[in-house]
Amino acid sequence: MTAVNAQIPTPTGPTPARRSKNGGGATLWAGVVLIGLVLLAALVSAFWTPFDPEGVFSDSILLPPGAEHLLGTDSFGRDVFSSILRGAQISLLVGTVAVGIAALLGVPFGIVAGMNPGRLDQFMMRGNDISLAFPALLLAIIFGAIFGAGTVTAMVALGIGTAPAFALIARSGTLQVMSREYVQAARASGKSGFFIGVRHVLPNISGMLIVQASVSFGIAVLAEAALSYLGLGTPPPTPSWGRMLQDAQGYLFIEPLLIVWPGIAIAVVVLGFNLLGDGLRDRFDPKMQVNR
C-alpha cells in the first residue's frame, strides 16, 4: 500500500516562483465569478428573499414560472427562486465545514507524518490507509444511523471521509519541502520541528492544499446532494439543492422545470470550484495534480 500512497499524483514544486505569469487566468476568473454568484446568493438570502423559502403556501402550489414567482413554486407553494437563493447557504456551509474538518484533521496529520520519516510515518500512513477504506458516503450512512441524518452529520462525515486525501497531499508536499535546503538551514539553526512545520512546511504546501480544498469543495456539494437523495442530507424545510432535486423527481412529469433549477445551481457551484481549482493549480504549479 505504500506505493499507492507514494504514487498519489503530487505536485512537484510547491514554490510560488513557479507561478506562471498568466497561468489559469480565464479558468480562474470563470471559477471566481461562478462562486461569487453563489456567495452573493447566500449573502443576499441571509437578509432577504422574495418569499419565505421555509413556509407553506397552500394556495400557490406548483405555479409555473412567471412574473411573481420567477422560477415558479413547488408542491408546498414555496417560491423556487427563494429556495434556490437560500439553498446556496447550505451548499456553501456544507462545503466549508466539510473541507474545514478535512483540512484540520488531514493536514496536521500529513505534515507530522511527512516530517517524521520512518516508523512514525509508516504507522500513520497505515492508519490513513484504514480511514481511506471508509469512504465519505459509507461514513455518512453509518453516522446518519448513529447520530441521526442531517446537515451536521453529513458535513462531519464528509469532512472525516475527505481527511485522508488531505493527509496524503499534505504528506507528499511535506516530503518535498523537507528535502529543501532551507529546511536543513532551519534545522541547522536549531529550529524546532513545530517551528519548521508551521513556518516552512505549511506555507509552502498551502498552494496545493488550496487546490485540493477547492476540488474537495465541489465534491462535498455533490456528495451532499447525493446524501439528500438518500434521505441522509439536510432535512426540510431548510432548502437544500440536493433535496429540492429529490423532491422535484416526483413532479418530473407535472413540472419538469422543478428539477432543472436545483440541477443548474449544483452544477454552477461545483463547476465554479472545479474551475477555481484548475485555475489555482495552473497558477501555483502547472505540474500539479490532486487526488480526488
Partner: protein, 589 residues
C-alpha cells in the same frame, strides 16, 4: 566555399511580450565543430530549438534557417517535412540525461526507434541489432545487455551516451548538443565530450555545441559563438576568442572563468557589466572588508601532510591536527536504507560514508572534492549535526555531536553554520529576506534582530532595502549572498558550504567566491567547502580532501594535491579540470 550545412540568418524569436532573439545569423560548414556559449538565459537553447523546429507553441520565429540539401526554409517547412529531417538529417542531444529518456522503455528500443521511424534499417530486428552496435560505438560496456536496460538502471553518463547513440544513428549532417554534459561529473564529462568530438570528426558531421562552460568549448570546438542577451556578440576561432576576446562581454566572461588568475588582492576577476538587471549591490564588487584585506591570505595554522589511502590499506587519519582541532572526525560511517524497496524485496543498503577520519584545524580552509554520490553532502550533514553517523565520532569545537540531543546542540547551532547550493532551494520562497536572515538568531529582540540583519546584509554587499522582498525577486548571486548573510549572522566559528557556487553562472560565481574569501578572512572562520569542482576548491582552500565512494582517498595542501596527485582517482580529476591557460594553449594548436 561550399554551401554550409546549416545557415541561419536574421533569426528572431519572440514571445507575446518581448523579443528573445534579436536577429542572429551564423553558418556551420560540414564537419565544422562550433561552440555556442553565453550566460543562462542568453538564448542558446532557443537557437537550437528553432533549428530543430521544436520551439514552444507560445513563441514565434522569423528569419530563415537552411539546411544543406533541403530546399525549404526550416522555419516555414511543414510538420511532415520537419519530421523527416529531425533525427535523420539533423539530430539533437539534450542536457538532462535523467529525464530525456522514456523511463518505461528499454534503451535499446529507444535507440532502435529512431531508425524505424526513418526506415533507415530494413526491419525491427535490424534496427535492434544496429542499436546494440551504436551502443558499442558510444563505448557502453556490455552493449547487448545495456540495450535491454531501462534508463533508471544506467548512470547519468551512460544515459547521455545512449542519447548520443540515438542522435548519431542515422549519420546526421548536423548534430546539435544543448549542454550535453552539465549534469555529469567532470571525469565523465571529459569522456562524453571526447566521444562527441570523435564521432563528429569520424563522420564529418557539423556540430553545434551549446554550453555555458568555456572549457567545454575549448575541449571540443574549432569555432565559438558568444551569445549575450539574444545576440551573437562574437564569432571566431576558439583559440583567438580565448586569448584575445574582442567583445567586452567575452573578455569579462573569460576572465571570470579563470579561477587560477587572481588580481593583486588575490581575488578573482569579476564581471562589471550589468549582467544582472535588478540589483545594484550585486553589480558592484563586494566592498573591501578592511583596509589591509589585500594582504596575503591568513596563513593556515597547520600545514597538512599530503597523504593517500592505499587500496586495501588501513584507514588513515587525514590532516591530523595537534591540540584541539576545530573539527575532528573519527571512523565515521553512514549507511542508508533506501526507502520502499518495492513489494517483495528488503530495502537495499547504501553506503554514504565508510570509516572516514580527519581533522580540520582552527582557521583552516578545508576543501572536500569528489564526484556526485561520493558522500560529500552526507559528510557535510553530519558535520552540521543534521544527520547522525551510523558509527564513529564527530567532535566540533570540542563538543561531541554524534548522538547529541538538540538541547545539547544549542550552542553548537550558533557556532556552526551552513551555506547550500542555491537554486531557490536554500531560501524559503514564502519568507521575506529579513525573516530568512534573522532565522538563526535566538533570544534577540525584534529591533535588535532587524539591525543585525541590516548590518549583515550590508556586509555581504546587499542594501538594507532588500529586507522586505521575497527570494524570487533576486538573482542567483544575490540569493547566495542572502544565504551567506544568514549563515554569518550568529557569528559562527565554523562555516560549512555545500556546492555553494556550483549552480551559479561563471560571472556570478567569481563574485560569490570573492565574497566568501573576504568574509572567511574577516570573521576568521574555519571553512569546510564541499564541491565537485577542483578549480573552485583550489582557489578557496588551503587544504583539500578528495573523496570517492564514501572514503577520503587523498588529502593534503591544495597546491600539492593539484600539482602532484598521489591517488589515481585524483589524477583523473585533475586532468579533467584544465586551467584556462591550458585551454588556450590547446585550442591554439
Amino acid at each position: 566555399m561550399s554551401t554550409p550545412t546549416l545557415s541561419v540568418s536574421d533569426l528572431r524569436v519572440g514571445s507575446p511580450f518581448n523579443e528573445l532573439l534579436h536577429g542572429i545569423s551564423f553558418d556551420i560548414a560540414a564537419g565544422e565543430r562550433v561552440g555556442l556559449i553565453g550566460e543562462s538565459g542568453s538564448g542558446k537553447s532557443l537557437t537550437a530549438t528553432s533549428v530543430m523546429g521544436l520551439l514552444p507553441e507560445t513563441l514565434a520565429a522569423s528569419g530563415t534557417i537552411r539546411l544543406n540539401g533541403v530546399e525549404a526554409d526550416l522555419l516555414t517547412a511543414g510538420e511532415r517535412r520537419l519530421n523527416s529531417l529531425r533525427g535523420n538529417t539533423m539530430a539533437m542531444v539534450f542536457q538532462e540525461p535523467m529525464t530525456a529518456l522514456n523511463p518505461l522503455m528499454r534503451v535499446g528500443a529507444q535507440v532502435a526507434e529512431i531508425m524505424t521511424v526513418h526506415r533507415t534499417e530494413k526491419g525491427r530486428r535490424q534496427a535492434r541489432d544496429r542499436a546494440v552496435e551504436l551502443l558499442a560505438q558510444v563505448k557502453l560496456p556490455n552493449p547487448a545487455e545495456a540495450a535491454l536496460a531501462f534508463p533508471h538502471q544506467l548512470s547519468g553518463g551512460q544515459r547521455q551516451r545512449v542519447m548520443l547513440a540515438m542522435a548519431m544513428a542515422n549519420d546526421p549532417q548536423l548534430l546539435l548538443c544543448d549542454e550535453p554534459t552539465t549534469a555529469l561529473d567532470v571525469t565523465v564529462q571529459a569522456e562524453v565530450l571526447k566521444l562527441i568530438g570523435n564521432l563528429v570528426t569520424d563522420r564529418g558531421t557539423a556540430l553545434l555545441l551549446i554550453t555555458h562552460d568555456i572549457a567545454v568549448v575549448a575541449e571540443v570546438c574549432q569555432r565559438v559563438l558568444v551569445m549575450y542577451e539574444g545576440d551573437i556578440v562574437e564569432d571566431g576561432p576558439v583559440g583567438r576568442v580565448l586569448t584575445a576576446p574582442q567583445h567586452p562581454y567575452t573578455q569579462k566572461l573569460i576572465a571570470a572563468s579563470d579561477l587560477s588568475s587572481v588580481d593583486d588582492r588575490g581575488r578573482l576577476h569579476t564581471m562589471s557589466m550589468p549582467v544582472i538587471s535588478t540589483p545594484r549591490a550585486a553589480a558592484s564588487s563586494p566592498r573591501p572588508v578592511a583596509a589591509d584585506a589585500a594582504a596575503a591570505p591568513i596563513l593556515p595554522p597547520h600545514r597538512a601532510a599530503h597523504q593517500r589511502l592505499e587500496q586495501g590499506g588501513p584507514p588513515v587519519v587525514f590532516n591530523e591536527v595537534a591540540g584541539v582541532p576545530a573539527i575532528s572526525v573519527r571512523d565515521v560511517s553512514r549507511q542508508y536504507r533506501r526507502r520502499g524497496g518495492g513489494l517483495f524485496a528488503p530495502a537495499p543498503i547504501v553506503h554514504g560514508l565508510r570509516e572516514v577520519s580527519f581533522d580540520v584545524g582552527e582557521g583552516q580552509r578545508f576543501g572536500i572534492v569528489g564526484e556526485s554520490g561520493s558522500g560529500k553532502s552526507t559528510l557535510m550533514r553530519i558535520l552540521c549535526a543534521l544527520d547522525q553517523p551510523s558509527a564513529g565520532t564527530v567532535d566540533v569545537l570540542g563538543q561531541s555531536i554524534a548522538g547529541a540531543s538538540e538541547r545539547q546542540l544549542r550552542d553548537f547551532r550558533s557556532q556552526v553554520q551552513i551555506v547550500f547550493q542555491d537554486p531557490m532551494g536554500s531560501l524559503d520562497p514564502r519568507m521575506r529576506v529579513r525573516d530568512i536572515v534573522a532565522e538563526p538568531l535566538r533570544n534577540v529582540s525584534r529591533a535588535d534582530a532587524l539591525a543585525r540583519v541590516e548590518a549583515q546584509l550590508n556586509a555581504v554587499g546587499l542594501d538594507a532595502d532588500v529586507m522586505h522582498r521575497h527570494p524570487h525577486q533576486f538573482s542567483g548571486g544575490q540569493r547566495q549572498r542572502i544565504s551567506i548573510a544568514r549563515a554569518l549572522i550568529t557569528r559562527p566559528r565554523v562555516l560549512v558550504a555545500d556546492e555553494a557556487v556550483s549552480a551559479l553562472d561563471v560571472s556570478v560565481r567569481a563574485q560569490v567566491l570573492n565574497l566568501l574569501a573576504d568574509l572567511v578572512d574577516e570573521y576568521q572562520l574555519t571553512l569546510v567547502f564541499v564541491s565537485h569542482d577542483l578549480g573552485v576548491i583550489r582557489h578557496l582552500c588551503d587544504t583539500v580532501a578528495v573523496i570517492s565512494d564514501g572514503r577520503i582517498v587523498e588529502c593534503g595542501p591544495t597546491a600539492s594535491v593539484y600539482d602532484r596527485p598521489l591517488h589515481p582517482y585524483t589524477r583523473q580529476l585533475v586532468s579533467a579540470t584544465p586551467s584556462m591557460r591550458d585551454l588556450a594553449r590547446r585550442a591554439a594548436n
